[in-house]
C-alpha cells in the first residue's frame, strides 16, 4: 500500500533557520576553521609531549638537550587557546548579526502587517516573542553550527595524522567510530528525545504551576487555595516518576558515545602496550613516541562529538523559536497593497459600495454595505457592539482589505491610492488611546513628529490640558506610562484629542466612541473641541451613545448581519 510521503513538520523550519543564518556572513565558517586550527594545536601539543618523553625516558637525554621540545610546548598551548577563543568569538559575532537582523525584520514585518493584524495578538506576549524567541537562536548560531562541522572534520584531521604513523591505531580509532555520521544521528535522536521530553515535562509542570497561580484569585474566592498545595506536590511527583522512566533509557544514547570514546582510549592503550611488549605484532614498527602521540590524540578524537552532544538542546531550542517566529514573517498582511495615486488635499468624499468583510471565512461582519459620505460631511455610524463598526474604520484606513465591493475616495478606488499618503490624511481617535512609556513630548509626537514645543503646548491647551501641563514640573519632558506618571482615563482621552489637533494635514477624521466612559464635563469638552476640529473636514464617527450625535449631519444605522446564524 502506498503511503503518503512523511511530512516532516520540522523541515520547513530547518530550511527557514538555514536561511536566517545566512545573515551571519562568514562568521560561522571562520568559527569552525578556528576550531580546526585548534585541532592542529592539539596535534602539535601531543607531538611535542611525545617527543619530549621519548627523549627523557628512552633516549636518556638531559633536560638541556630536550629544552627545544620543552620550550615549544607553550606555543602549541597558546595556539590551542587562541584558536578556541577565535572559534567562540566568531560564533558570538555570527549570533549577534543573525539576531539583530531577525529582530529588525520582525519589527518591519509587524509594521507592514498593521494594527488590524495586531489586534489578534497580546502585546506583551508579542514583545516577549521578539525578545526571548529571537534569543532562542543564540546558542544554535553561535556554537551548534560550527560544532556540527567540526565534529566531522576534526576527527578526519586527527586520522590524517595518525594513519601515517600507525595504521593499526588509525583503524582502532576508526573502528570505534563506525562512521561518525551514524553517531551524529544517534546523538541527535537520543539528545533530542531527552531534551524534548525533559522540556515538555518541565513546561507541563511549569504550566500547571502557572495555571494555579493565574487562577489564584479564583481559588481564593472558592476557599480552595489551601487544598492546592497537595496537588502541586502530587503533580510534581507524577512528572518526576514519568520523566525519569524515560530519561533513564534516553541517557543511554549519550552513554553509548561515552562508551566508544572510552573504548578508543582503552583499546589504543592496551594495543600499544602489548605491541611495545612484543606480545602483539601486526608488522608495524612502533616506537614509544608514536604510541604516546596516538594515545594523547585518542580522547581528542571524540571530544568534538561529545561537545556537539551537549549542544543538541541548542538546535531544539532554535527550532522551537523558529516555530514561533516564522508564522509572523510568513503572515499575509491584511492591508491592501495600494497604488501610486496621490490623494487630493481637500476634504474627501467617500463612497462605500457593496462592501463585505469577514474575519472568519463564512461569518461575515459586514455584508453589502452601501454608504455615501459627501466631502465635508459628518456621518455618525451607530449600532450595537459587534456589528462591524470598528471593522468599517479599519477598512477606511486601509488596514483591512474588503472581501467584496470597495471604497472610493473622491471617485477613485482606494486600492489605487498611495496608501501611506492616504493614511497621512487621516486623523484618528481611538476608543482606547495608547499611552507610550515615554515623555509627554514623544506621546504627542506620535501624531506629528516635527511638531515644535509651542505647537505641542497649544494642542494641550486646546484639549483642556493647559493647567495640567503648567503644573508639571518637567513640562513636556515628563515621563508618562509605565515607570512614569500615570494619567486618568479622562486625561488620556484629552491627550488623544491633543494628538488629533496636531494632525493638521488630516482631511478625514475617524472617531471611535469619542465619549465612552467619560464623565459629563469631559464629554462636553471633548465634543466641543471635536466640533471645532471637524470644520472643513470629512468626519466618520462611531458611537452607540446619543451624545456624540450632535457632531453628525447624518446618522447611519448599521445592523447586524443576519442569516446563517447558528
Amino acid at each position: 500500500m502506498a503511503s503518503p510521503p512523511r511530512n516532516d513538520p520540522d523541515a520547513s523550519l530547518k530550511t527557514w533557520l538555514a536561511g536566517r543564518t545566512l545573515d551571519a556572513g562568514p562568521w560561522p565558517t571562520l568559527s569552525w576553521v578556528a576550531g580546526l586550527v585548534g585541532t592542529l594545536g592539539v596535534l602539535g601539543q601531543a607531538f611535542v609531549v611525545a617527543a619530549f618523553f621519548q627523549g627523557w625516558v628512552f633516549d636518556h637525554r638531559t633536560f638541556a638537550q630536550l629544552a627545544p621540545w620543552w620550550l615549544s610546548l607553550p606555543f602549541t598551548v597558546l595556539l590551542r587557546a587562541l584558536a578556541g577563543w577565535a572559534k567562540e568569538e566568531a560564533g558570538v559575532r555570527a549570533s549577534r548579526a543573525v539576531r539583530q537582523r531577525l529582530r529588525s525584520d520582525l519589527v518591519d514585518k509587524i509594521g507592514s502587517l498593521g494594527p488590524a493584524w495586531k489586534t489578534g495578538q497580546a502585546s506583551g506576549a508579542l514583545a516577549s516573542r521578539l525578545i526571548e524567541q529571537v534569543d532562542g537562536l543564540d546558542a544554535y548560531v553561535a556554537r551548534y553550527l560550527a560544532q556540527q562541522k567540526l565534529s566531522m572534520l576534526a576527527p578526519l584531521l586527527i586520522l590524517a595524522f595518525v594513519f601515517p604513523f600507525n595504521w593499526v591505531c588509525g583503524l582502532i580509532l576508526l573502528g570505534t567510530a563506525p562512521l561518525i555520521p551514524m553517531f551524529m544521528i544517534l546523538i541527535g535522536h537520543g539528545a533530542q528525545a531527552v531534551q524534548s521530553r525533559q522540556l515538555r515535562s518541565l513546561s507541563k509542570m511549569s504550566g500547571h504551576f502557572l495555571d494555579v497561580l493565574r487562577g489564584l484569585t479564583t481559588l481564593k474566592l472558592l476557599d480552595a487555595h489551601r487544598r492546592q498545595t497537595g496537588e502541586i506536590a502530587e503533580v510534581s511527583e507524577g512528572f518526576r516518576v514519568r520523566t525519569m522512566e524515560v530519561l533513564r533509557l534516553a541517557f543511554l544514547s549519550s552513554t553509548v558515545l561515552e562508551f566508544f570514546s572510552v573504548l578508543a582510549i582503552a583499546l589504543t592503550a592496551l594495543y600499544l602496550g602489548f605491541t611495545l611488549l612484543g606480545e602483539i605484532n601486526f608488522g608495524v614498527a612502533l616506537t614509544f613516541q608514536t604510541s604516546l602521540f596516538v594515545l594523547l590524540l585518542a580522547p581528542e578524537f571524540y571530544q568534538p562529538l561529545r561537545d556537539l552532544g551537549t549542544l543538541y538542546h541548542a538546535r531544539a531550542e532554535a527550532l522551537a523559536s523558529a516555530g514561533q517566529l516564522k508564522p509572523i514573517l510568513d503572515a499575509v498582511s491584511p492591508s491592501p497593497a495600494g497604488g501610486t495615486a496621490t490623494p487630493g488635499t481637500g476634504a474627501p468624499s467617500l463612497s462605500l459600495r457593496g462592501l463585505s468583510f469577514s474575519h472568519v471565512p463564512g461569518v461575515p461582519v459586514l455584508r453589502d454595505l452601501d454608504l455615501e459620505v459627501k466631502a465635508g460631511e459628518a456621518v455618525a455610524v451607530t449600532g450595537p457592539s459587534g456589528v462591524g463598526k470598528t471593522t468599517l474604520l479599519r477598512l477606511l484606513q486601509g488596514q483591512l482589505t474588503a472581501e467584496a465591493g470597495g471604497i472610493w475616495v473622491d471617485g477613485r478606488p482606494l486600492a489605487e491610492l498611495d496608501l501611506e499618503a492616504w493614511r497621512a490624511r487621516i486623523g484618528w481617535m481611538s476608543q482606547h488611546p495608547r499611552l507610550l512609556a515615554a515623555t509627554l513630548r514623544d506621546n504627542l509626537r506620535v501624531a506629528r513628529q516635527d511638531a515644535g514645543d509651542d505647537e505641542l503646548a497649544e494642542a494641550l491647551t486646546f484639549a483642556g490640558l493647559g493647567p495640567w501641563l503648567a503644573a508639571l514640573e518637567n513640562g513636556l519632558d515628563t515621563l508618562l506610562g509605565e515607570g512614569g506618571r500615570t494619567v486618568s482615563g479622562g486625561q488620556l482621552r484629552r491627550l488623544a484629542l491633543a494628538r488629533l489637533r496636531l494632525r493638521r494635514e488630516a482631511t478625514l477624521l475617524l472617531l471611535d466612541e469619542p465619549t465612552a466612559s467619560l464623565d459629563d464635563d469631559t464629554q462636553d469638552l471633548v465634543l466641543d473641541r471635536l466640533a471645532e476640529l471637524k470644520r472643513g473636514r470629512t468626519l466618520v464617527l462611531l458611537t452607540h451613545h446619543p451624545k456624540p450625535l450632535v457632531l453628525a449631519d447624518r446618522v447611519f444605522a448599521l445592523g447586524p448581519v443576519t442569516e446563517d446564524d447558528e
Binding site: L73, Q100, A142, Q228, I232, T255, A269, L277, W428
Partner: protein
Amino acid sequence: MKPRWSDLRPFLALFRPYLWWLAGGLGLSVATLTGSLGLLGLSGGFLTATGLAGLVPETAQLYNVVIPAGGIRLFALVRTAGRWSERVINHEATFRLLGQLRVWLYQRFSRLSPRQLGLWHGAEVLNRLTRDVDLLDNLFIRLLAPIAAATVVMGCLTAVVWVLAPSAAWVAAALSVAGLVVVPAAVYLTARTLSPRLVERNEDLRRVLLDLVEGLEDSFLHRPAWESQRQAVREADSLRLADQVTVQRRGSAARAVLVALIGLAAWGVIGLIASAPGQGLDGPWFVALTLLVLGTGEALLGLPAAWIELPGTENAARRLSELADQTPEPAFVDTMDPAGTLDLTLEAVGFEYNPGEAVLDSITAAWPLGTHVALVGPSGEGKTTLVRLLTRLEDPTRGRVVLGGRDLREWDETSLRSAVACSMQDPWTFTATVAENLRLAAPDATDEDLLTVLTLVGLEGQVTAWPQGLNTAVDEGGQSLSGGQRRRLAVARALLRRAPVTVLDEPTEGLEAEAALALVQCVRKELAGRTLVWVTHRPQGLDGFAQVRRLTRGGLSTN
C-alpha cells in the same frame, strides 16, 4: 541592585531533605571525573612501563600486565557507568527539588493578595515569575554540582602530585586555585556587575517593543512616528546585544585562559620534574602525572559557563524572595466571634490604589439579607474595585464593609468565603476537566449536583452533549470554551458554594441578549431569600431587582 550569593540562601535550605541524593550525585560526578583522569594517567603510565620493559626480552616476559590492564578496564567502566548514573541521580535529585521548590513557593504566594502578586497587571508578571522558578530549577544540576565535583577532583589531583613529585605540587595547587577560584571569580564578578544592567536593558527593549506594538494604531497613520519608534527599538536592541556580547566574551576569554593555564601547568610540571636532578620519579609516573594535568580540562572548562549564569539565578532568587516575603495584606484573623444576620452594609467606603487617586469615594449602602441588587455603571475601575472590597481581596482605604454586624476585617478567611461567594469579571478556568473545575467550589458535590447547577446557568445541554460530558478536559486558560461558557461555568461555581451572599461581576458578558435574560431569571430564582449583588454594564433584564443602583466614583445613586 547587584545580585548576591546570599539571595540563594532561602532556596538552598530547601535542599536539606535531599542531601543524600545530592551527595550521591556529587559522588558519582567525582567518580566519573576520576575514571576519566585515571584512564588517561594509567594509560600513559602503562604505555611507558611496557615500552621500558619491552626494550629487553627478559623483562618483557616478566612484566605483569594484569594489574595495569585491569585498571584501565576498571577506569573505563567507572567512567562509562558513572556518566550514566551521575546523570540519572542528578536529574532525580533535581526533579525532587523542583517539586519541593514549587510547593514552598506556592504556600508563600497563596497567602498574598492578588495585588501583592501583581495579578491585577496581567499575565506578564506571572510569566516572569515562572521563568525565575525555571532558572532556580537548574541551580543544582547546572551550577552547584559541576563546581563541587571539580573542587573535589582538583583537590585530589593536587594531593597526588604532592605525594609523587613535591617540587611540582605548587603548580597543581596554582592551577586549582586559578581554575576554581580566580578565573571563575573574574567571570562571576563581571557577570554580577553587568547583571543589573542586563536586566535594565532587557526592560528597556521590552518597553520600546511594547510601545511600538501598542502604538501601531497611531503610528500606522504617520510614517515618521513609526520610523522613530522603529529606530528606538533598534537602538535598545543594539545596546542590549552589546552587553550580552560582553558577557559572552568574558566567558570565551575565561575558557581560553583556562586552556592556556592547563597546558602551561603541564609544561611547568614537566620542567620542574625534569630539571630537578635526582628526584627519582621514574618514567611511567612522570608520564602519568603529565597526562593527569592535561586531562583536568574535563573538570575545569565547564565552570566559567556555570559562574556566568549564577548572577542571573541569584537575581531570580531575589525577585522570588521579595515577592514571597511580603506580609499578607489584607491578612485574615484565625478565629472570629460568631456573626449576626448576614446583612451587608457599606459605610462611607473609599478606595485608592495610588495615594490621592480615589477610585471610590464615600460609598454608602445597606443590603439586608435576601436583597437582590443590581449595580450598573460605565466600565472602569469602580465596579470591579467594589467587588474586590466586598470579597476582601482589598481593604477599603476609608470606611468599612460590614457583614453580619462585623467589619470584614474581623472575619476569618474560611467563614468569609462560606458567607460570600463570588465570580469575578475575569474568572480563571483551570486546565482540568469540567467536573474538576466545578468541584473546586464544592469538593463533595455529586455529579447530579453539578448537572443541576449547570442547568441553572444554561450549560447543562452543551456539557451533556460532549462525548466526555462532565469529564471533558478544558484546554489551557479555558481556550476550548467560548467566553460565555467560561463565564457561566464561573457563575455555576459561585452557585455551588451555596453562600448566603453571592456577588457576580459581569456574569452575562459574552452572552446573547436572550441567554443573558434567562441567566438573570434563573440565578434570581435560585437565590431567592439570599443576597445577590449583580454587577453589570447591561441595563436589560434588571426589572425584578429590589434595587438597581448606578455606581460612579462619588457614590451609588438610584438609576
